[in-house]
Subunit: 273 residues, 6 copies
């Protein structure tokens, strides 16, 4: 069986930690690099239900997209759910590895998987990594549909292509508007710089998550004044889940058993109109 250090090296090669955002926290959260790894579980969030699944299945390693300890800590006592998670994992001998913004900007990365799920042919990143001449890696992706389709049909495609969540899909724009070029960004994508780049590129629609009132309303007013994309807002979890099987495939062909969690970790459990 490979060691944890060997498995970690595979992910570090695919998602180099140095490409993560400066504020991010990627890499090993716990685990002994010399330990042997036979079973690896993949999930979006290191929440309690996912830890249950990992420990019940006997995973030696849990790989998640979201960091458990994004805010740095001076201790991991079991006085809160984060410390308890660390205690549960260490006591059970299960390591935890995070690939977050390093997986976002990689090629292929989180937004490539999202674009693929929607049937888009990817052209390149929305915000290329600084200092890279070829401009292949970066945040978000631009892509093209094989055929133009009305925004209404495109939104149905989005809803049908991603894991179903309680809150569904929100749309802003004229449902008859034709959509051909699309920008996608897995996870929260209402950053001012992202929205400006999507608009500058002339995309017909932008699919992302966690769009708040002010960025979304400003984008729609700007679009009314001088053009801009329709917006399609999906669950944060749903936008990133398509990456899990891609990450798991990195271990294919070896002796390690992998499993992709299908637990829905979107926090919303009910929805009313």
């Amino acid at each position: 069986m490979p060691t944890l250090a060997e498995i970690t090296a595979v992910f570090d090669a695919a998602y180099p930690p140095a490409t993560a955002e400066p504020w991010d926290a990627v890499g090993l959260v716990c685990g002994d690099p010399a330990a042997e790894v036979g079973r690896v579980l993949f999930a979006v969030d290191p929440v309690d239900a996912v830890i249950d699944e990992a420990l019940e299945w006997g995973a030696d390693l849990l790989v998640t997209h979201h960091p458990l300890l994004l805010k740095a800590v001076n201790g991991v006592p079991a006085t809160n759910f984060k410390g308890r998670t660390v205690h549960r994992l260490i006591s059970a001998g299960c390591a935890l590895l995070t690939a977050h913004t390093n997986a976002d900007v990689a090629r292929p990365g989180v937004s490539d998987a999202l674009a693929l799920a929607l049937g888009l042919t990817v052209a390149g990143p929305i915000l290329p990594l600084r200092g890279e001449a070829d401009g292949l890696r970066g945040l978000g992706r631009f892509g093209t549909l094989p055929e133009p389709e009305p925004l209404g049909a495109f939104a149905e495609r989005v809803a049908a292509s991603l894991p179903r969540t309680s809150a569904g899909v929100r749309v802003s724009g004229d449902l008859d508007r034709p959509v051909r070029t699309v920008a996608v960004c897995g996870g929260a994508g209402d950053d001012r710089e992202l929205l400006a780049a999507v608009r500058a590129a002339g995309a017909d629609a932008y699919v992302t998550a966690d769009l708040r009132h002010h960025p979304a309303a400003e984008a729609m007013e700007a679009a009314r004044f001088g053009g801009g994309p329709a917006l399609v807002d999906v669950a944060h979890f749903a936008s990133e889940w398509p990456w899990l099987p891609v990450a798991a495939a990195l271990l294919a062909g070896g002796t390690v058993e992998t499993r992709v969690s299908t637990l829905v970790t979107d926090p919303w459990t009910a929805h009313l109109l």
Copy 2:
């Protein structure tokens, strides 16, 4: 007819500008203090459709909750929608006044109106203003329902009490959980400090808007570990609209004609499950 300066003084007394957050931009955006004011329109957002309504109706003053120029500018040329809005208003002789976080923390303020709409008896703010001994003013409100009811019924009450929007209401928590004490915060309420205070107070549910994945998911994990509120997420616009008639009532009994806009300025225009 009163002058704009006299009308402004009424709002400054009810919503003192000095109580606004340091990053906020409240007060007059345009208008001549000596101009006479006969008609005042109230709306949540100074978007183009609202400006249309104001100018078509012949408003002398538009009062909005959201600032047009939150980010300070060195000019207002009509090269973007914000500058064009200023040109349209000045050319038509219509002033624009913002009452934002000063209206949030006032008593009664934006969250009082939201609590009232939901049938809550208000106890006090979630985060009292610093340096105020009586603790009456501040961000958000705690309140109590006359009778406990299951979370499912409470969520239906929320949906039925606020302006209907495309995206509806999202809920996180056990729908059978009884709800009696409720925290509400008009507008975006996923700030770490707000969530911590709501949890510390032991509220059964928290109604607010713009809840993103990470704060919501962390709150639900923390609740699973050591208790905490159910979450009810509504449209940002819908959470603040109930304040408009309250603000309009400040001018009641005078010679000024008032009108509350019923345009839905939530950016989401369609929703799919």
Copy 3:
């Protein structure tokens, strides 16, 4: 008639906004890019008397050297003279365009016009723009008189060459000292870096405005210790006025009517010895 956008493009080409200092505020302050422009007035300061002149003459555009809104604002209500100026201009359909430090560093720019007025042959900037290989653009100018002349005669030349102001011209240095190489800087020029560069270059005299006690006194002490220029202090307005006809000439040959304001906007209206 050309549009405002077309006229703005002419000035942006001559005085690229990207070359302005980071703290500066250049470009359009108000105006609709689609409006037609028939008459353009040029002035140093956007003060009330200049606005009167613009509106009485029927100007469609006022071009000034000094910004109206150097300090960014969150609104332009007519509760102060700056907001009133914006209201007067928008109501009258007159745009306002600022070319400030971008006009200072351009070639030809504000200090070239000042040097020309004094009869100097320009060699190059005092502080070249960073990152420009040819060193042609930048702040201030070094120049040479055709013949050396005593400082006293040179000061009389300065007084006679620029618009007359109440406060006149101040001189520091031995009036018999010969002057051949001269540094000039339109506007306030007592910045430590400018003074150091003038001294390092061995100029015989430095003509600028707004020289305060401490920089001037330190420069004269340093000159006594190890050599340095005589100082000639003129009115800020007078040092920049010569640029106005140069800027107006950018529109020559077109259909636009131009006019250079001769109002003296130096604040000093009387002088006593």
Copy 4:
């Protein structure tokens, strides 16, 4: 004969160093506290000509208003005029003491002496020291003339009351405007906060030094819009010189010989209209 430490204590009592601005550098620049002091010279600026006067007269101490080393240094080599000044003073056994913003805010202080020279009865400071209940100390002074007089006559009074300098006195405002209440500030007084406080207090005129174009022009525009003081700009040196005999009087009655330098250290040596 008293020691330098004893003389220093007299000035520290009258002008407590703790009341100086945080950016200022007051107190001893050089000198041995145990040295005996027989002769003390007072001057505004520690320039070379003043050092000559001190050493020729045999001064043991030079007291100046302006600091020699406002910018802190890591050495005092005689490679520039400041280090040479320190070498000259130490070699000759002459100490140097600065009383700058601590003398400005004291009561009586620099602006009291200026007000007295102009015949004003002092009311209080323009900007009281923070945290002082009685509000007696602070920057600048408000005062009253015995009788109102036109601005023109007042300006002549200013010119006649202060040491004559080459550049004279500059005035902004209607010369027939009556002047009764006057604000004065010795030294550079075009700080935004000072100008705002003078305007808020409704003073008829403001006498200070080093007024630059932008603050002066903005003040006059604001005055045109909503009232404000006339401006009277004098030489920085002239505005502070009246304090010298007041400071010298602190040593009266002792055994120390004092002398007030009458060298004009204003940098401007000629003036042309």
Copy 5:
């Protein structure tokens, strides 16, 4: 048996976490608050040899003075000695609790124990906690010997009273100088503010650890010029060890078994002259 939460409460009462320095990291590093605690080991440093001792003895809790994770972390993988320590402790069910600067400033605290070991009667802290009226708590302690003794004898007393370490005790000052009043500070004490306070108080000697060349040399030069304490530098470990039995005594009388480690964790293992 008490729970870890109950034991933690005892230490939090004696050494309130809120009194720790802002940069410090005190409290639980790992451990489950619901776990039962039968054995508690006390040590200065959480080094590997101390972990060995804790685990071999079967400790349920290790209390150390120095934090394991002073620099906050985003994970505790066993890829370095700190993460391995966390894994060892969690796997063995042993909690780790730090009382650092909160134990320093407490009364009695770390420097009280050091003073006691040296036979001093304590007067009060060197740097009292800000905002405490009684001035009883704070960093370091002043104390008095029953009888004055020469510095040489005092240094021998210090060496004899503290745990012996390889590098011994360093002394700066005249060995015949009488010592009566003494300042002590457990741990690194060459902070500029501490040294200034010790000097201002007129102490005869200052006992602390980790004194570097520049602070020590400057203090001795200052002492030569105007008086100041002799310096006695001991091993950091030795200066803090006397506090361990005091901390252990907080659990006396209960059912918990305590043990004070006598491992020398000073890093120096040999010394040459």
Copy 6:
């Protein structure tokens, strides 16, 4: 006789001031560049006893490694030992020149002299200067012994090779461990970056000064976990003294008389075990 400016130029060429750390203060502290220099004394610290030696010998220049005025000052009054030192030097006509971190990083520099004294063949710097392609200059040095020897023997070599001080040499590590490659850093060397580079390079031992408990203890724990150097801590003074004759040799062959002070300026005057 050469002038001070000529002598200064020799040191500036060998130790360019621009290579000093940004926080450092190198170059002339006092002295007249035109003065003639006949005698130059070299010492580590500008303490009072060294000034005595300089003045008694009639030195015209004192060159020290440590700055007198590292913290910038606004005056040099003789109210403290630093100002008194400046007065003594200027009155006696003796200049003071500092070569500190510029001498540390030079080639040959302070750590080269230390390495030479220990019999090491130097390979290169521990931390090369940024932006230098050849990597020859920088902080600290790596070197090699002609033959491996046990750590105990190496420590004896260190003690025998450097000036003897009261406190001697401290060692951390197994005395039988073989030592071949050695890192040295004159002066305080417990900076995190230095220690990490020494460890990464795989050196057998690290000789430096002012090693405090936490860096030293962490280094030894890290070494126990994954390898790392033994530590040898010497007096700060002793580690830098070997550079003095090297610096003096820069003036060899000229008319200037040089002398290297043998005063021990280590602050520790006694030591007890």
